[in-house]
């Protein structure tokens, strides 16, 4: 069987650019969070899930998709995406139910009298844990029987595979390499992910929502987390695995990976836009003068923006009050970096911006 051409063409056309894919997904996430109460209802979520499963199933009839999706190392990614989706639904479904209860003035389900009551670990917990482990072992064994671990040619420093990809869980970072220098994508961002996660308990001062599922009471925290985890992490991994082909070019899911596919190389630095395109003069020879605009812009973003936010945006004013100067600064820098990621990607897609600040003399590019 072959997939109808109009369908593959349509999907390829929509998903054939990273910009469209990421923006659509982001919009999808925002919409999903806005309408989570309706969407998580089994009657709604069920058909959506089945539909997605169906699309996945028919996609296997496409030779290109099948080739990539059945690579042994890519199978866990499909599992990961599926399980993340499923558990997001599980969580949001419980949030929706709890939020309804909270609106009615009831305690969340987890705080019901019967639930709060303690019960013996033996046999309930021990038993289900044990069954869980057995079933998981079965799953792992069958998986291992069905799929051989991959083994390619012996390591050869002279032969670079195309595309050469990092292990799948780092593909989000590898995707960032398209937009940022390695020191940002490979060092700064991962570090900030870790520090961001670690500082989380100390800046989330919201006392509500501790120990039970709720969206209503922690909209901001959960939105940021969902964006960071689902879009900036899981989605980019998915993209890096299935949509990035030879030469790290972007391919639709059903588009054959042609090693000769070319993309026009028209990325420019901010300084080039200013000096060459707007002012029409040559590039200044001094790097500082050349990059001053970008430096100002970046400094403005990280220095002026926090203050402006704290001054003029009520929500941030509240944060500032709650957290104090230092915590607020740490928090806002992390938040701005996260936002900056998206902004840089958008700039790349819209005006082919390469670097805001480009000082290759010192390997310093932003």
């Amino acid at each position: 069987m072959e997939l109808p051409k109009f369908y593959t063409d349509l999907v390829n056309a929509v998903v054939s650019r990273a910009a469209v894919f990421v923006i659509l997904s982001s919009v999808g996430l925002v919409l999903a969070m806005k309408y989570y109460r309706v969407l998580t209802k089994p009657k709604v979520a069920g058909p959506i899930g089945l539909g997605a499963a169906f699309l996945l199933f028919i996609s296997f009839f496409d030779p290109q998709f099948k080739t990539v999706a059945t690579l042994p190392d890519n199978v866990p990614i499909i599992m990961m995406v599926a399980s993340v989706t499923f558990f997001v639904w599980v969580a949001f479904r419980q949030m929706a139910l709890n939020d309804e209860r909270l609106e009615k003035g009831l305690p969340p389900k987890e705080a019901e009298a019967g639930e709060v009551q303690k019960t013996f670990v033996w046999p309930d917990l021990v038993y289900i844990e044990f069954i869980c482990l057995i079933l998981f072992t079965v799953f792992l064994t069958v998986w291992s029987i069905a799929l051989k671990a991959p083994l390619e040619q012996p390591a050869n420093p002279a032969k670079t595979p195309n595309p050469s990809k990092a292990p799948w869980y780092f593909l989000g970072l590898q995707e960032m390499l398209v937009y940022f220098d390695p020191w940002i994508a490979g060092v700064l961002l991962p570090t900030m992910i870790i520090t961001g996660l670690m500082m989380l308990p100390y800046i989330d001062k919201n006392p509500k929502g501790n120990g039970y599922y709720t969206f209503k009471e922690r909209k901001f925290a959960i939105s940021i987390f969902m964006y960071g985890f689902v879009v900036a992490w899981v989605l980019l991994i998915f993209m890096g695995t299935f949509l990035r082909g030879p030469n790290w070019n972007f391919f639709g899911p059903y588009e054959p990976w042609d090693i000769h596919k070319l993309e026009p190389l028209t990325n420019v630095n901010l300084s080039e836009i200013i000096y060459l395109q707007v002012l029409g003069v040559g590039m200044p020879r001094n790097w500082f003068i050349r990059e001053i605009w970008g430096i100002l812009l970046v400094l403005g973003y990280f220095v002026a923006m926090p203050g402006l936010l704290a001054r003029f945006v009520p929500m941030f004013r509240e944060f500032y009050k709650q957290l104090g100067m230092i915590r607020y600064s740490v928090f806002i820098v992390h938040l701005l970096v996260m936002g900056g990621m998206l902004i840089k990607m958008l700039l790349r897609w819209t005006i082919n911006l390469k670097y805001l600040v480009g000082i290759p003399e010192y390997f310093f590019n932003i």
Binding site: P76, S83, V90, A91, Q94, E110, G114, E115, V116, Q117, K118, F120, V121, W122, P123, V126, Y127, E129, C132, L133, F136, T137, L140, W143, S144, K148, A149, L151, E152, P154, A155, K159, P161, S164, K165, W168, Y169, L173, L177, P182, W183, G186, V187, L197, M198, L200, P201, Y202, D204, K208, G209, N210, G211, Y212, I222, F225, I359, E361, Y362, F363
Partner: protein
């Protein structure tokens, strides 16, 4: 847990320790050997159910009693438990693989081929590899669950941080293990991964600031002295990196992870058990 499976002893003659009476099975349960191992009767009374947990080195990770919501699958997703279980699976299969695998450029690849082709229970490699992938997924999901239930909030701030480090360790364990088959996939994934270390500010030779560290006109941070060199034991992914990654994978990271896991579990208990509404 074996006790759960055991048939109910006759209700009429509830056995008392020390009495030699009844069927052979009863004699066994009442005998000295059995009672020396299991210091409680059938866990069908609150006392025995508590003892079952508390007198068992494996089970006493759990408190004897917890909040009901902490037992609900819908609430916990069992992801933390699965992650721990996968760590054990990886340890076991990893030890078995170590019998056959030599982390040198001559043998690493050939040994993996042998595992694939003819070594008995070569399926260990598959279980190890897929288990590692699964562990990455379960640890993420565990993190997501903890976040979405707000379980990092006081008093669990510290344990959340331990968890973050464990998450990083899980990724590092997986990453270091990725190199060991010594094939193209391994080598280039690790090359791409470690190339970023070149660009570490100041200490990577292609990182911002590195060119500022100079003594006269001798550069201090160069390809032979930067952080990537330290990581790989060379300027590129070569046999030295294989050995380094092997040691990290088999000794350093597992020890660190095991230690932190102990802390993690201990703090779960100390911070009030599986989270629930405060």
């Amino acid at each position: 847990m074996a006790e759960v499976k055991a048939p109910e002893p006759p209700a009429s003659s509830a056995p008392e320790p020390g009495k030699r009476k009844g069927s052979l099975l009863e004699q066994l349960w009442n005998g000295q050997i059995w009672t020396s191992i299991f210091r409680h009767g059938m866990p069908d009374t609150p006392r025995n159910r508590t003892l079952a947990i508390m007198s068992n080195v494996f089970l006493h990770l759990h408190p004897p009693k917890i909040r009901r919501s902490g037992i609900r699958m819908k609430y916990t997703w069992c992801m933390g438990g699965l992650t721990f279980f996968l760590f054990l699976v990886e340890t076991l299969t990893g030890v078995l693989l170590m019998f056959y695998y030599r982390p040198t450029a001559e043998f690493a690849y050939a040994d993996i081929v042998s595992l694939r082709e003819d070594i008995p229970l070569g399926i260990m490699r598959e279980i190890h590899r897929w288990g590692a992938h699964a562990m990455v997924i379960t640890v993420w999901l565990h993190m997501m669950r903890v976040f979405l239930t707000g379980s990092y909030k006081p008093p669990r701030e510290f344990n959340w941080n331990v968890g973050v480090i464990l998450l990083v360790l899980t990724l590092l364990l997986s990453f270091t293990g990725y190199l060991l088959p010594w094939d193209q996939l391994a080598m280039w994934a690790v090359t791409v991964g470690t190339n970023m270390a070149r660009a570490t500010p100041v200490v990577g030779h292609e990182g911002p600031g590195a060119s500022l560290l100079k003594l006269g006109d001798i550069s201090l941070v160069h390809a032979g002295s930067d952080v990537r060199y330290a990581l790989l034991g060379g300027r590129f992914v070569a046999p030295a990196a294989l050995l380094r990654f092997y040691v990290l994978h088999c000794v350093a990271f597992p020890l660190a992870a095991a230690t932190l896991m102990a802390v993690h579990f201990w703090r779960v208990r100390k911070d009030g058990g599986v989270s629930g509404p405060m």
